[in-house]
């Protein structure tokens, strides 16, 4: 937890909290955005990353509520089933959701994008990378969390040209999913164990002679997939499509080893969340848009726009470095994203 500052006039400053759905360097950018906004809007922000899932998230929220807080921005891990907690928060303070929405709850606003749509965007990249069709493997840290399931489903539905339906779920145990042009061979999970993630990628390369494209849905997956493909000497033969802005992924897009990636805008999540909460705390409800959704779209990064995107990240980081709070030199961005 980082209280952004110990200002003597703290009483006048709203105290808000920004709660993620786990620990990932994806959230580093959100943290940065939240802090920037806190400075700009004269608020204290407490950033919390629950390490152990739903339970930790609940505990952290309750402890914050117990301390008295003017607003909470939360990325619910499992919005469908965390109703009680969201109600509890909603009753005690201003609550907004970010990154992952809970439309049925008392949230005042949602800030973020749609994982299913982002998944479909990722699927589009696969289609571009492999226009003639072929077989695809999906790698993901966990399927236990809603966002990764939605992302995966988006990829599958796009490749199979299905109608959008967020509630569809092709069980990974169902085996090969065959479409007209594209075949999804399998989905492998690694439980955030990087060793296993790499092994899964290597095993897939070894197993399928006809593997056309590998999709890595958590930030750490694509670089490990690339390692496997390089070791097998199949760079270019096996296409790679990434998710999130891991620096090695971006570098590889530059080097044309990875076709492209879908990135969100975590900095904006953090920034907007704190801006909205600070406004609400001061009684300004105009910060909330009409439809109660602040849509921050995902973007597709390919070889043509990767340089510009890298520069954009660099700018964010350099301000951060000059502040001297944190510096992630070797890994500017991205782990498994929310």
């Amino acid at each position: 937890s980082q209280n952004s500052s110990d200002n003597p006039e703290a009483d006048a400053r709203p105290k808000v909290a920004y709660i993620t759905n786990g620990i990932a360097s994806f959230w580093t950018f959100a943290e940065k955005g939240a802090k920037d906004a806190a400075q700009e809007f004269n608020a204290d922000v407490n950033i919390q990353m629950p390490a152990n899932g739903v339970e930790d998230q609940k505990r952290i929220c309750q402890d914050l509520l117990a301390q008295g807080i003017d607003g909470i921005a939360i990325s619910p891990i499992d919005p469908d089933n965390q109703g009680d907690l969201l109600t509890e928060i909603g009753q005690r303070t201003n609550m907004i959701t970010h990154d992952s929405d809970a439309p049925g709850s008392e949230r005042l606003c949602y800030i973020g994008m749609d994982n299913y749509t982002a998944g479909r965007m990722c699927g589009e990249l696969v289609k571009e990378a492999m226009p003639e069709g072929g077989s695809v493997m999906i790698f993901v840290g966990r399927l236990g969390q809603a966002n990764s399931r939605l992302r995966r489903q988006g990829v599958i539905d796009e490749l199979l040209d299905r109608e959008p339906d967020e509630n569809r779920y092709d069980e990974p145990s169902a085996g090969v999913i065959k479409g007209e042009k594209y075949t999804i061979l399998d989905t492998r999970t690694d439980g955030f164990d990087f060793g296993k993630a790499k092994a899964q990628a290597q095993d897939a390369v070894a197993k399928y002679d006809d593997l056309g494209c590998m999709v890595g849905l958590f930030a750490y997956n694509p670089p490990l997939m690339l390692d496997a493909v390089r070791e097998a000497g199949k760079v270019g033969k096996i296409k790679i499509v990434a998710f999130d802005e891991h620096d090695r992924s971006l570098q590889a897009i530059n080097d044309k080893e990875i076709y492209g990636t879908v990135v969100q805008n975590p900095y904006k999540y953090g920034y907007e969340s704190v801006r909205v909460l600070a406004g609400l705390a001061r009684g300004d409800s105009s910060v909330i848009p009409e439809n109660k959704i602040l849509y921050i779209p995902a973007r597709q990064i390919r070889n043509d726009n990767v340089a510009a995107f890298q520069a954009e990240l660099q700018r964010l980081l350099s301000t951060e470095e000059s502040e001297g709070t944190t510096n992630v030199v070797s890994e500017p961005a991205g782990d498994e994203s929310p």
């Binding site: 937890s1 899932g53 965390q82 069980e171």
Partner: protein
């Protein structure tokens, strides 16, 4: 109870320090939360204590919790069986798990660590496989009756009139009842006595005509059934179950609570009261870390250090007591020879 001094002391110190550090700590809301968490972890701590007392260990608790929590909605919501069937199924499952552990350990003479380590992996795999890693939820209407167990006392029949009842979690009541039963079982019945005896010296117990195998199996069954029940409570409380991670490391929390509470992993020792204290201390620490604004990342380190200090203090207290006893003894014996001479 004497040997719980160290941990009781630490508990009080942390409690008072936090209360001073943050006045919000003592609010009814926070106390309720703290009590509830301590109760849930205390319950699984009591379960594992039985196994630890026999000199065994159960590493599969977390996975069993995950499996039970995943299975119930799977059976009741997805397969649309009645709730009673679901509850019976998870009860039967927990029982069979304990039975299997016990039988493998006593009949095949496999090591408890190994058997339950395999259990840790197997139950997790089954939980993930059955629902294909899908998140399971307890938001369903069907479970609203059960949810009383993770509510407050005023939700119990006939209790709505008492205003104080609002501030006591039902889970705490469950813990108390379970604690009293476990305590009586352990200290006042022959079965408890047998467990303590065989935990220290299995052969001696066997030579005394005790069917040690059956007693060990019973201990594992108790542990698994309580874990399964604990899993249900956790699931009801958190509402959302990710089959691949729900309950991860809970066995370590349970074991740590038991050890903090004075159970020896060598077997033959354990106090239920101590275990409850141990669980309470761990939850209190987490709460204090939040309340005092200590770096979140340091949380595991703080808990680890406090546990270490706890067992070290206990050890030193024990030694000190032994030395004092020796000195006292010395006085008595030095008094005697002079009379002799």
């Amino acid at each position: 109870m004497k040997k719980n001094f160290g941990i009781l002391g630490i508990l009080l110190v942390v409690f008072i320090a936090t209360a001073i550090g943050n006045p919000n700590f003592l609010t009814a809301y926070n106390m309720f939360n703290l009590l509830e968490r301590a109760s849930l972890y205390g319950i699984i701590g009591i379960g594992v204590a039985f196994v630890i007392i026999t000199g065994g260990i159960d590493l599969s608790i977390g996975s069993l919790i995950g499996l039970v929590a995943t299975l119930l909605p799977f059976i009741v919501v997805q397969q649309s069986f009645p709730l009673a069937v679901g509850l019976f199924a998870i009860f039967a499952l927990s029982l069979c798990v304990g039975l299997t552990h016990g039988v493998l350990i006593t009949r095949l003479k496999l090591q408890p660590f190994v058997v339950t380590l395999c259990g840790l992996m197997i139950y997790r795999g089954i939980a993930r496989w059955i629902v294909s890693d899908k998140t399971m939820g307890y938001g369903n209407e069907t479970f609203s009756g059960l949810k009383v167990m993770v509510g407050n006392l005023s939700q119990l029949p006939g209790m709505s009139g008492f205003s104080w009842a609002k501030h006591i979690p039902v889970a705490f009541l469950i813990l108390l009842v379970l604690g009293v039963i476990a305590s009586v079982f352990l200290n006042k019945t022959i079965y408890g006595r047998y467990l303590l005896a065989l935990g220290r010296n299995e052969q001696a117990a066997r030579f005394s005509g005790i069917n040690t195998s059956v007693m060990i199996i019973i201990a594992y069954v108790i542990c698994s059934v309580i874990s399964g029940f604990g899993g249900l409570l956790f699931a009801l409380d958190y509402g959302s179950i990710q089959p691949d991670s729900f309950g991860n490391f809970y066995e370590l929390y349970a074991i740590a609570a038991a050890v903090l509470g004075g159970c020896s992993l060598r077997g033959g020792e354990g106090s239920i009261f101590g275990i409850i204290l141990g669980a309470a201390l761990m939850r209190l620490l987490m709460n204090s870390i939040s309340m005092l604004g200590i770096d979140d990342q340091l949380e595991p380190a703080v808990i680890g250090i406090v546990i270490l200090i706890g067992v070290m203090v206990d050890e030193l207290v024990k030694r000190f007591a032994a030395r004092r006893r020796a000195v006292k003894q010395a006085k008595v014996t030095t008094a005697l020879p002079e009379v002799d001479a």
